[in-house]
Amino acid sequence: MQGKRLIHLLFGIAFLTASFSAYASDPKKGALTPQDRKTEVSAYVKHHNLDTHDFGLFSYTGADGAHHQIGFPLPVILWADGLHVFSSGALHHGESVVASGDKYFALDTHSYKIYETDASGVLNYDADHHVTNVAPLDFSITKSVFMIMLVSVMLFMIFMGLAKSYAKNQSLPSGVGRFFEPIVLYIRDDIAIPNIGPEKYQRYMPYLLTVFFFIWFLNLFGLTPLGINVTGNIAITTALAVITFLITNFTGTKDYWKHIFDPLGHAMPWVAKLPIYIILVPIEVLGIFIKPFSLLIRLYANMQAGHIVLGSLIGLIYVFQNWLGGTLAFGLSFAISLIELLVALLQAYIFTMLSALYFGFASETHDHAVEHDGEVQHL
């Protein structure tokens, strides 16, 4: 128990110091013009929102003017005519070229992506500042992947603990389970059952619960000052939306498909339906894809926007460099942080809720004539 508390304390201190150090500016920087500081903050915010190959906790500029980054490297796994595995520490934040096998790799400090280069590590840019070098297939354990693993382990521990506490405690939760059990029940009673129906909700429960806690936890980690922006990454939200899409369409009932390809049913003879269907069916088919697309864009945009706004507001404190502006920016960023705390939960809820809604459409098996009256096209 004592050890556990100590770990909590250490984590707390680590987070606090990280949050202060992350933006701590060196006195020497006072010489910078506000314009410089703005570009610096903007670059910092942008960097913060990107996925990186190492886990940077914080950085500072030393007395000698050198830029130091504190963190730990993560493995880089590349596929370029063969597997190339090395530690991201070897890249030295884009300063070094790594030779692996017969290939050379360098990090583009603009997009934080790894490209194939020649031995000298030259990156060629086109007019829009895009790198023209060949990009290998990058399966690295990046910061995001690392965080996904961490959150997965956390979720697994928490909910396995909750499951075990039932056996030990006569069907009553104990510890953190007391906090999470009502949420699990809320998802079952207020998200799954009303949207999917009491007969079929059970097969969707594992996905809904997993996706809710996964998104929520990652969103909350995004609010820590570690620069974690997993749910604000388009690849992550796409992966989640693709799973929702696959589940929706693979569990779709006959009625669901009939709804898409023959929504009018026996209401009209086929001759009359044909001209309507030429327009209606493509819209319905498009709807199948627009639904998960709106899911992925919504989650990505909300989290990304939240990070940009928060980062910019915190950055404002350093841009202003006076007590009034600094205080105002601090108050504003504090308020936005609280809102982001709500958004973290809300976006997880919305994603789960809409997934449940789509599953509900897919698993519906009831009378078409009745159901069609209050129809709304959900996007």
Partner: protein, 166 residues
Amino acid sequence: MEKLIGEFSVGLFFWQTLLFVTLLFLLKKYAWKPILDAVNEREEGIKKALESAEQAKEEMANMNADNEKLLKEARAERDAMLKEAREIKSKLIGDAKDEAKVEADKLMTQAQAAIESEKKAAIAEIKEQVASLSLDIAEKVIKEALSKDDQQQKLVKNLLDDTTLN
């Protein structure tokens, strides 16, 4: 849009899908299933307990109703019995009264008859006695009156006067 596609990382997509699906199956097997089962079981238990309580309550009410019914029946039976007893009593009393009356009437009649016959006998006796007394008196009177000849002559003459020859 272009920026979004540029930001899309195939590796991250791959890892996310792999890790998420793994997490999904692990959690499903080791967490969600036991949790939901336990919660369902608990809810089922609570529901059952409530149901049985309701049932017990109903049974209690039924029993109360039964008791009430029994009590009512018993009361009705008692009332009926009392009523019957009362009826029997009154009937008995009435019967006895009737019987007594009949007996008394009979006795009265008998007494009256006896009295009548006694009276008749007494009257007959009195008549007899009166007759014999009258005869005696008459005898004596006649004896007195007819002790002399002239008187006897006079009587015979009177008698002969009375007896007209027709």
